[in-house]
Symmetry: C2
Subunit: 450 residues, 2 copies
């Protein structure tokens, strides 16, 4: 991260020549940070100070709105040079953000091979392996020796995304094996590469979801994973730096969806209107659903008039069972996301949740029962008993549902994080209020108390 001190030192530089020197000798990520934080007017001006080589690397680190602005304001030739030097996957990501007419123009000006690579990637749906892969990988013929292979790699463009794995293919690009540069380096010069190659290669299909690719690479501690089409022809690779980004994105999405934010891609600094758009529909939807919970209270207004302490205890009941539900929900959603459990484990998880739930139910039931006596008058002490009972029951229901609902969604290949915490608490409140007030009313009628 560019520190505040360093940023201030840069801003204090007087001559453009000095700033130019500093910028061209900075890490591209830091230079990108510096430019992104400048006032919009100065961004293009400062960006022009970068040498041709640095410009492309810095460009890849800029946020997409700054990239767009630069594309609008730089000369066509400068833009072309930039876009041509980007790696195909980053370029595809940029093109996603730009207006269609700009993309069309930029694509048409690309060199044929770069155009083909970009069009290929853009042809796959967002969020798939095909869309996040790069086409800049090392491919070797299967009949080379180790020395020939190393020789070949040394002669390649140095812009391959990784040279640390080389993929062996036949004449039709069908993937036969993979060797690492490490293997090549430690082997004898005359050894045929085929002998070194792993044949049980881990591959992904172009259509595989990006999070599946990320899980695979994490699981097997790989630096890259090859992407193949239906005929097992090699079309690209996904590298570990993209995987780090994918895993972060997925985690953010889960956290936000669990909190009821649609899309799961809001940022703290998103525009207020974006925030409203991502949050309000869901909040209004939940209020509508909550009519159910409120309607579970409405018929018991007479009971509440008679025993208003019920209204004091009800929120504790609702709050606590909501918390119990959200705990179970978030543990289950996350365990599913990182692949610790699969939908097949549903019974094992449920058993553990219910066992833990029984203990929690006992403790929380007793706690609420005792607390109720704080507010209940001497003729209302029975409310403590009802509260304790309903609390205990609700805790078990909450823990079971919190674990069960995401498992069921996953079982039917839906996103487990679709059950947000608030959705769960609304369901739990509806059941909880009805049971609590229903039981209390029964008590009044049966025993003529109150």
């Amino acid at each position: 991260m560019l520190t505040q001190d360093r940023r201030e030192a840069l801003l204090a530089i007087e001559g453009l020549a000095n700033l130019k020197y500093e910028l061209n000798n900075m890490n591209p990520a830091d230079a990108g940070d510096y430019i992104a934080a400048l006032p919009p007017k100065e961004q293009a001006l400062t960006f022009r100070l970068l040498a041709k080589g640095s410009a492309a690397s810095v460009f890849e680190y800029l946020p997409s709105d700054v990239q767009e602005m630069l594309i609008e304001s730089l000369h066509a030739r400068e833009v072309q040079a930039l876009v041509d030097q980007m790696s195909p996957d980053d370029r595809a990501e940029l093109f996603d953000e730009l207006p269609a007419r700009v993309v069309k123009r930029l694509l048409s000006q690309l060199s044929p091979s770069e155009r083909e690579a970009t069009a290929l990637i853009l042809g796959y749906p967002e969020g798939t392996a095909g869309r996040v892969m790069t086409t800049e990988y090392v491919r070797l013929r299967e009949d080379l020796s180790v020395a020939q292979a190393i020789q070949k790699i040394r002669k390649l463009d140095s812009d391959k995304e990784t040279i640390y794995y080389a993929y062996l293919t036949d004449g039709e690009r069908r993937l036969l094996g993979v060797v690492s540069l490490r293997q090549l380096l430690f082997a004898e010069a005359e050894t045929p590469v085929q002998e070194l190659a792993h044949e049980a290669i881990i591959t992904v299909q172009t259509t595989a979801p990006q999070e599946e690719v990320a899980r695979l690479l994490k699981r097997y501690d790989l630096l890259a994973v090859p992407v193949v089409d239906l005929e097992n022809r090699l079309v690209g690779i996904v590298t570990v730096d993209d995987v780090v980004d994918i895993l972060e994105e997925e985690a953010t999405e889960d956290i936000q969806k669990l909190s009821g934010i649609s899309g799961g891609d809001e940022q703290a600094l998103s525009a207020p209107l974006t925030k409203v758009q991502k949050r309000l529909p869901w909040l209004l939807g939940n209020i509508v659903l909550y009519i159910g919970a409120a309607s579970a209270i409405a018929p018991f207004q007479t009971t509440i008039s008679l025993i208003p302490v019920l209204a004091v205890v009800m929120p504790i009941l609702s709050n606590t069972s909501g918390n119990v539900g959200i705990q179970a929900l978030s543990v289950t959603v996350r365990s599913l996301a990182v692949g610790e459990v699969s939908p097949l484990d549903v019974l094992r998880i449920l058993r553990k949740e219910i066992q833990a739930g029984l203990l929690n139910a006992l403790a929380l039931g007793l706690a609420l029962g005792a607390l109720t006596l704080l507010w209940a008058s001497s003729t209302e002490r029975w409310v403590g008993l009802v509260a304790a009972l309903v609390m205990a029951l609700n805790v078990i229901v909450a823990a079971s549902f919190g674990a069960l609902l995401p498992m069921i969604l996953k079982r039917f290949k839906q996103d487990p994080a679709l059950v947000s915490g608030p959705l769960l608490t609304t369901l739990l409140d509806t059941a909880g209020f009805f049971t609590f007030l229903g039981l209390a009313s029964l008590f009044i009628h049966q025993f003529k108390v109150g």
Copy 2:
């Protein structure tokens, strides 16, 4: 992931010789999965089928409880061979889980260099760069040529964690620069490595928190980052595969802490008692805090007796403002975690949250006001007005606090996820109930309604 079909095929294998063949030719991660899922009695038996080389790699992929069990049940010599072959960072992680007496014995039997490396790592606190680093990296003298450097790397043990970066140091191990194998391969044989080396190296201190290391590596798209002590002497490296694990762990921690689970490291299949231990103290603590919210209702029991529809509307108010707060909270906590924002951005974030909050407040206030009319009798319609007002007010307070509290914690170098969603909703409920019932009571007294 080992598929169900594949697992069943393996379980159906009759002869031990066949199973042995399959296991030794499987990916170590898959073999680990297979063994971990076996009944405990068969685990040691099956593990013994692995050849010496595979055994160590498979062992590193086993869950820590299975590792412990194996260490108890294998012969001392087998255990020693396994532990000796582990990389120092994985070994340190294993030792953390084992009883002290076992660790002491195992350490004493290690070769001196391995013992030293492990003791070094174990000397750093958990969660720091020093603790997650490995000491198996490539170190070169600064005065070599490219050809000499490659020659040197080829002669090294092949068990270095990565050979893709080589670190240049002086006689006192002080870090002078870093070259990638890629640079070496593309350079002329006679070039001095010093000329290729980046001097503005990105390093971390041994005491840096592991998430800081992970962020750095992600930000600069590195495969490894060198760890140095206070005198800038190189002591180890952290590699990208560890970083992937760290980022996942941190995300899980945030999700769970936001849901009120202490420690943030519960798994769906954790033992029921572990679950109770991680959840109950926090649930009970929250009930105690919630006495505040309930006490905000208690003084208004007379008001509720007179206007029981208040008890119908109150839960919607509490639920909705809780949701608004949790949305703001989770976006802010996550943005801080991934480094999108820093505590310096507090005013920018707050402005955006309040702007978005105003719109949400208007919509949700109107919605609740209208809904109230569903349940209010003709003399209670004014409750709709009070509900709308308090809802609007609460939404703004909820959004501001949801964003502000984690920013303040971060500012004082505390974990922003300490403000869990439930803690926030409890605070919001306390304020919300008091305002709502207080206003309603005022209304009754002022206008003699109800």
